[in-house]
C-alpha cells in the first residue's frame, strides 16, 4: 500500500487564524488596554514652524480639575538622555540632530510637542493642555529646499552651519564620458510631493512604571518591540531588563511605527515622572505630521537609437523637514541605491541632498524611497519611447536584465538574486489584452476622449541589514511542543496587521505534520519572545519564517528518533510526519499520533533508551547568506536579501474639461518567489496598489505660507476609497529566492511604486495628444487641468 503525501498548507489560501477576532471586534489593540489607576496624557504642540521657547506658564493648567502634572521639555531633558538614532547621519558625513521627547529651547515645526499634561481623564488632559501658556519668539521659516539652501537662509540648527542633513553619492560619476558616444541625451526634472503612511490606528501607548520593582511595562503600537526596549532603556537611563515592551494587534503601520520616533518616549517618560500608568493616544492631525516622498529629481539620461540605456545621472533633493532620530533620511539613500535597478545600466550616478526645513520630519514610510526611483526610471522609459518611436513596453523589454544575468551587481552595489522581468511584462500585457486596450484607446481618441495606458516596473530590495544599526536581515524564532502536542512559536518578528503570524503557523504546521489549530504564535512581547528586529523591510517571512522552519526541523529530528523507537522502525525505514500522525514511510499501519510521540519525549525518554537530548524546543536564527557588508573595491555593499518585482499596467480616462481621472483597469504581475499564503500576497499587492494610486492622485500634505499644515484629517488628506479604485487584476510568477530554505521574497512593500508610476504614465499618455505633460505628482484634477490649459494656450 502506498502512502499519500501529507496535506500541506504552504501555498494554500489558508484563512488567518485570528480572523474571527478581527471581524467580531474582539481583537485587542493597544487602545483597548487599561490598568488600574490609568491616567491620560495630552500634548501642548507648537503653533509655529520656527521659534524659540521663551517661557512656559503651567499655572492655569495645573489648576484645572483632574490634572496631576504638567511637564515641560526641559524638565524631561533633565532626567533623560537624547533619543538614540535609528540611522545617524552624523556617523556618515552628515549632521547629527539632537532629538528629545519634547522640544527644548526652540521649536522647528508646527505640531512639535513642547509640554505634556497628565490628568485623570483624556478630556481633562486635553482641556488643561489648552491652558498651558507658551511664550514664543518667532524666527524666520524655511519651507522648501531652495529657501533652506539659499546663501543667507535661516538655520534650523545654527551649530550645523547649514540646513543640509546629509549629502552623498552612489555609483560612478561617469555620465559625461559615456554620454558623448550616446545617440540621445535628455534632461528633466521630476517633482514628488509630501505624503504620509496614514494607518487607521494612530500611535498609542500605555506605560506603567512600577516604582517598587523599578520596572516599566509599555504597551505600544510599535513594529519593533525589542529595539524599542533597547532605545527606551538608553533614553530613560534604565537597564534593558527593567523594561518590558508589549506590542498587541496593530492597525497598520507602513513604517510610521518603526522605532526612533520621539512619540515612543512620551508615555514612558511621563509614567516614570508621575508614578502612575499613563496612556497617550496620538491625535489624527498629529499622525498626519510625519512625512515621506517629498523629493525633487533632476536628471540626465543617455540612450541609443535602439532605446537602450547608456547612462543616468541624478541629483535628488529631499525636503526632509526637521531633524529626527528615525531612519527617515535613509529613504533618500535607498532611493539612490535602487535607481536603475533591474535595468541593464552600467553607468548610473545618483547624488542626493537631504535638506532640513521647518516641517515635521520624514519617517520611514512604505516603500522607503524606492518609489521615487521607480517613478523616475518609468518616466524615463516613456520619454525614451517618445524619442525613439518605440512602444513603451518594447523599450522596457530591451532594457531589462535577462533571466540568465543573475546574480547581477548594480552600480550601487546591490546584488540582484533572481527574476524574469520580461516574463512579468508579458503576462501583464496579456492580462490587459494590450492590443485590445490600444484599439479601445484609438477609438476613444477619435471621439475626442482622453484614454491613457501606462506601465510601471517596480523592483523592491527587501529584508535590509544596516551595518551598525538595529536593522537586521536575520531574526530568531523558538518552536516548542508540549506533552499534549500543542505547539508554541515565539518569534522576534511582528505583524503590523498583515497576518504573517498565520503564515508562520502554516510553515511550522507543515514541518511538524500537525494541524494549524495546534499552533499558537506569540509575537511582540519582549519578556516572552527571542530578541528580534520586528517588522521592517518586508522581512517577517524571510527571517522569522525561515528561522521557525529551522527550529521546527530540530523538533522533527527529535520526533523522528522517538517515533522510530516507539514503532521499532529499522535504520533503513524513514519516519514521516503528516496529518497529525508519525508513521513509518510506506506502512500506515505502523503509526502514532504526534501528541503521543511528543508525550513520550517528555515522559518515556529513559524507557525508550533515547540517545538524544529529550528536547522539544529549539531556538534558531536565520541569517541569509547573500548580504555583503565588507565593501568591494568601489566601496559598495549589498545590504538587501531579496529582490521581488512587479510590472503594472494602468488603463484610465482623463476628463479634459475637469482634469478628473477615472481608473478603468489596473493589472499587475508580481513575483515574490515562493508564496506561503496567496491570500496574504494578493492582499499586500492590492493594498500597495491602492496606496500607490492614492499617492499618484490625491494624498498630499499641504502647508500654508507660515508652515502650518492644512491637511489635518481625512477630509483634507484624501485617501482613495473603494469607489475610486478598480478591481486590481493580479498575475503571479514564482522565481524562488536562491539559497534560502523557503524561496520566499518580501512582499510587504509590493504594489505601491509600480502603481504610482503606471498611473502617472497613463495620465501622461492620455493627455499627450493635447500637447500636455505632467512631470510632478500628484496628478490631481487641478494639476491635470492646469497642464491641459497651459498646453492649449
Amino acid at each position: 500500500m502506498t502512502s499519500t503525501l501529507p496535506r500541506r498548507s504552504v501555498g494554500q489560501r489558508v484563512k488567518r487564524h485570528d480572523g474571527d477576532a478581527h471581524l467580531t471586534g474582539q481583537a485587542v489593540y493597544t487602545g483597548d488596554v487599561t490598568v488600574p489607576g490609568t491616567t491620560h496624557a495630552a500634548l501642548v504642540r507648537s503653533p509655529h514652524a520656527h521659534a524659540t521657547i521663551e517661557s512656559i506658564d503651567t499655572t492655569a493648567a495645573l489648576a484645572h480639575p483632574g490634572v496631576l502634572a504638567v511637564v515641560t521639555g526641559a524638565e524631561i531633558a533633565a532626567v533623560t538622555d537624547e533619543i538614540p538614532h535609528g540611522l545617524d547621519a552624523g556617523h556618515l558625513g552628515g549632521h547629527h540632530a539632537v532629538v528629545r521627547p519634547l522640544a527644548v529651547g526652540k521649536v522647528v515645526h508646527v505640531g512639535e510637542p513642547v509640554a505634556a499634561v497628565v490628568a485623570l481623564t483624556p478630556a481633562d488632559a486635553a482641556a488643561a493642555a489648552l491652558l498651558v501658556e507658551v511664550g514664543y519668539d518667532l524666527l524666520p521659516v524655511v519651507l522648501d529646499p531652495d529657501a533652506a539652501l539659499a546663501e543667507d537662509a535661516p538655520l534650523l540648527y545654527p551649530e550645523w552651519g547649514d540646513n543640509v542633513i546629509i549629502a552623498r553619492e552612489v555609483g560612478p560619476d561617469d555620465f559625461d564620458e559615456v554620454a558623448t558616444s550616446a545617440a540621445h541625451v535628455l534632461d528633466g526634472e521630476l517633482r514628488g510631493h509630501r505624503g504620509n503612511a496614514a494607518p487607521m490606528e494612530t500611535r498609542t501607548y500605555l506605560a506603567d512604571w512600577d516604582s517598587r520593582r523599578r520596572h516599566l511595562t509599555v504597551w505600544a503600537t510599535t513594529q519593533n518591540p525589542h529595539v524599542m526596549r533597547t532605545v527606551l532603556a538608553s533614553t530613560l537611563r534604565l537597564p534593558e531588563g527593567s523594561i518590558r515592551v508589549i506590542a498587541l494587534k496593530i492597525g497598520g503601520s507602513f513604517g510610521l511605527k518603526m522605532y526612533g520616533n520621539r512619540e515612543d518616549f512620551i508615555a514612558p517618560v511621563l509614567s516614570r515622572l508621575v508614578g502612575r500608568p499613563v496612556k497617550w493616544v496620538e491625535e489624527r492631525s498629529a499622525a498626519l505630521l510625519p512625512a515621506a516622498r517629498d523629493q525633487r529629481l533632476a536628471y540626465r539620461v543617455a540612450f541609443d537609437d535602439d532605446g537602450r540605456l547608456r547612462a543616468l545621472d541624478v541629483h535628488a533633493v529631499s525636503d526632509h523637514g526637521a531633524g529626527a532620530a528615525t531612519h527617515g533620511w535613509g529613504m533618500a539613500h535607498v532611493g539612490a541605491l535602487a535607481t536603475g535597478l533591474g535595468y541593464a545600466l552600467d553607468h548610473c550616478h545618483v547624488r542626493y541632498t537631504v535638506v532640513a526645513t521647518n516641517k515635521a520630519p520624514w519617517v520611514g514610510t512604505k516603500p522607503f524611497g524606492k518609489e521615487s526611483a521607480t517613478l523616475l526610471l518609468e518616466r524615463i522609459m516613456d520619454r525614451i519611447a517618445v524619442t525613439t518611436g518605440l512602444d513603451p513596453a518594447e523599450v522596457r523589454r530591451r532594457n531589462f536584465l535577462a533571466p540568465d544575468a543573475f546574480p547581477h551587481t548594480h552600480t550601487s552595489g546591490l546584488e540582484l538574486d533572481s527574476g524574469d522581468y520580461a516574463a512579468a511584462l508579458d503576462l501583464t500585457l496579456e492580462l490587459l489584452d494590450h492590443p485590445a486596450a490600444r484599439a479601445m484607446q484609438s477609438a476613444a481618441r477619435a471621439e475626442g476622449r482622453c484614454v491613457g495606458i501606462g506601465l510601471g516596473f517596480e523592483l523592491m530590495p527587501e529584508s535590509a541589514d544596516i551595518p551598525g544599526a538595529l536593522v537586521a536581515a536575520f531574526d530568531t524564532s523558538t518552536v516548542r511542543m508540549s506533552p499534549s502536542g500543542q505547539v508554541t512559536v515565539l518569534t522576534g518578528v511582528t505583524s503590523p496587521g498583515t497576518g504573517n503570524d498565520t503564515a508562520i503557523a502554516q510553515l511550522v504546521a507543515d514541518e511538524l505534520g500537525v494541524a494549524m489549530s495546534e499552533i499558537t504564535v506569540v509575537q511582540g512581547d519582549t519578556d516572552l519572545c527571542p530578541y528580534g528586529f520586528g517588522n521592517i523591510s518586508s522581512r517577517s517571512i524571510i527571517t522569522g519564517g525561515n528561522a521557525a522552519v529551522l527550529a521546527a526541523r530540530d523538533l522533527v529530528a527529535t520526533l523522528h528518533t522517538t517515533a522510530r523507537a516507539m514503532l521499532s522502525a529499522g535504520p533503513e525505514e524513514a519516519i514521516v510526519l503528516g496529518d497529525g500522525m508519525a508513521q513509518v514511510a510506506g506502512d500506515p499501519e505502523r503509526a502514532l499520533p504526534v501528541p503521543a510521540v511528543a508525550g513520550a519525549v517528555h515522559t518515556l525518554s529513559y524507557l525508550l533508551g533515547l540517545d538524544i537530548e529529550p528536547r522539544l524546543e529549539s531556538t534558531r536564527t536565520y541569517r541569509p547568506a547573500n548580504v555583503r557588508q565588507v565593501p568591494d573595491e568601489l566601496g559598495r555593499m549589498n545590504t538587501y536579501t531579496t529582490y521581488p518585482y512587479a510590472v503594472h499596467a494602468s488603463l484610465l480616462e482623463v476628463d479634459p474639461e475637469t482634469g478628473s481621472v477615472t481608473l478603468l483597469r489596473h493589472v499587475v504581475t508580481h513575483d515574490c518567489g515562493t508564496v506561503v499564503n496567496p491570500m496574504f500576497v494578493d492582499g499586500q499587492v492590492t493594498g500597495g496598489v491602492a496606496m500607490g494610486i492614492g499617492a499618484a492622485l490625491g494624498e498630499e500634505l499641504v502647508f500654508d505660507a507660515d508652515g502650518v499644515p492644512a491637511s489635518t484629517g481625512f477630509k483634507t488628506y484624501l485617501l482613495p476609497r473603494a469607489i475610486d479604485l478598480p478591481r486590481v487584476e493580479l498575475g503571479h510568477l514564482c522565481t524562488p529566492a536562491p539559497g534560502t530554505p523557503l524561496g520566499a521574497k518580501g512582499v510587504g512593500e509590493a504594489g505601491f511604486s509600480g502603481a504610482l508610476a503606471a498611473v502617472v504614465n497613463a495620465v501622461n499618455d492620455a493627455i499627450a495628444p493635447l500637447g500636455a505633460a505632467l512631470e510632478a505628482t500628484p496628478v490631481s484634477p487641478p494639476r491635470v487641468l492646469a497642464a491641459l490649459l497651459e498646453a492649449g494656450q
Binding site: A123, A127, L130, E657, G698, K715, L718, P781, P782, L785
Partner: protein, 301 residues
C-alpha cells in the same frame, strides 16, 4: 472626546429650545455661548478639536423639526430632516427630484446620511457643500423662529457669507418650504476630487419646457464655486428657444463668466473652480433638458 465642560439640553418643544438658547448657561462650564445641535456632524468634531467651545448645546432632536412632508403645493422640509429621510420620501421624488439626486451623492455613506441634517448643513453655510446650492435652485423659503417670532425669507438670503448664516442671535432655523418643481426637468452634477472629497463644484439646473419643446423657464445655480450659491441668469440663452447644444453651451458660457470671485481651498484653487464651472453647468443643463423632455413624453403617453 470634547475637552471642555458644557451644559447640554434637549428641550421637547421649539419654544423650549429658543428659551434655552436665550438664557445663560449655568455656571461650571468653561465655554463661551450657546450653540444649536442638529445632526452634530460638524458641531461635535469642531468641539472635539476645541475649535468651538459653547457653554451650552441646545439639541433640536426632541423639538419636532424632523421629517419631510408633501403640502399640496410642494414640500415642507424640517430643519432636522436627514438625507436618509429625503431619500425615503416619495413626495421628494414627486415635487423636488433635485433634492433626491443631491441626497444620493452625499459623501459619508449611510451612517452620515442618517445622522446629518439638511438644516444643519444649511446653517453651517460651508461653501463646499451640496445643500446650499440645491435649496437655492429649488427656490426654497427658509423658516426661522426666534424670541420675536417667525420670519420667512428666500433661502438664498440665509447664506450670508462663507461659514456664516444670516440667522439672528437666538434664532433657530426650523425648516424650508420648497415649491413643487413637478413637470420640470432637473439636473444635478457634482465634481469631487474622489470618494472622500467635499464638493469642488456643483451645478443644479431646472428646466421647464412647453408642449412644443420650447423652454419656458430655466434655473441654474452653481454651488461650491463661490463663497455662497451663485444663481446664474441664463434666460437669454435658453428661454423661448428649443434648446439645442448651442444654446446649452451659451448658457454654460454665461455660467463660467459669472464666476468672478471663485472660492479657493486646499483641495482646489479658485482658478480651477472657475475653469470647471462652465462644463459642470453644461452637464447639469443637459441632464435637466433630457429629464424635461422625458417628462413631457411621459405626460403625453
Amino acid at each position: 472626546m470634547i475637552p471642555h465642560r458644557f451644559d447640554y439640553v434637549a428641550p421637547d418643544s421649539l419654544a423650549g429650545c429658543i428659551e434655552a438658547l436665550n438664557t445663560a448657561a449655568p455656571a461650571g462650564g468653561d465655554g463661551e455661548d450657546a450653540r444649536v445641535l442638529a445632526g452634530g456632524t460638524w458641531v461635535l468634531p469642531e468641539m472635539s478639536r476645541a475649535e468651538s467651545r459653547p457653554a451650552r448645546l441646545v439639541d433640536l432632536r426632541r423639538a419636532g423639526l424632523g421629517g419631510v412632508t408633501g403640502t399640496g403645493s410642494g414640500l415642507s422640509v424640517g430643519a432636522m430632516c436627514t438625507y436618509a429621510e429625503l431619500l425615503a420620501s416619495p413626495d421628494v421624488l414627486r415635487h423636488a427630484p433635485l433634492l433626491h439626486t443631491m441626497a444620493e451623492g452625499i459623501t459619508g455613506g449611510w451612517a452620515l446620511r442618517s445622522q446629518a441634517t439638511v438644516g444643519g448643513s444649511a446653517v453651517s453655510a460651508r461653501p463646499q457643500s451640496d445643500v446650499p446650492g440645491a435649496l437655492v435652485a429649488c427656490g426654497a423659503v427658509a423658516r426661522a423662529v426666534g424670541p420675536e417670532g417667525e420670519r420667512r425669507f428666500p433661502v438664498a438670503e440665509l447664506f450670508a457669507a462663507a461659514m456664516h448664516s444670516s440667522l439672528l442671535p437666538g434664532e433657530v432655523l426650523t425648516g424650508f418650504d420648497v415649491p413643487s418643481t413637478a413637470g420640470a426637468g432637473s439636473g444635478y452634477v457634482k465634481l469631487k476630487r474622489g470618494g472622500s472629497s467635499w464638493p469642488i463644484a456643483t451645478a443644479a439646473a431646472l428646466v421647464r419646457l412647453g408642449d412644443e419643446g420650447v423652454c419656458r423657464q430655466v434655473s441654474l445655480v452653481l454651488g461650491a464655486v463661490t463663497a455662497t450659491p451663485l444663481r446664474v441668469d441664463v434666460d437669454a440663452a435658453l428661454v423661448g428657444t428649443t434648446p439645442g447644444d448651442d444654446g446649452v453651451r451659451e448658457a454654460a458660457h454665461l455660467a463660467g463668466a459669472a464666476v468672478d470671485e471663485p472660492w479657493d481651498d486646499l483641495l482646489a484653487p479658485g482658478s480651477y473652480r472657475a475653469a470647471v464651472a462652465a462644463p459642470i453647468a453644461r452637464r447639469a443643463l443637459t441632464m435637466a433638458l433630457v429629464a424635461a423632455r422625458t417628462t413631457i413624453q411621459e405626460t403625453r403617453a
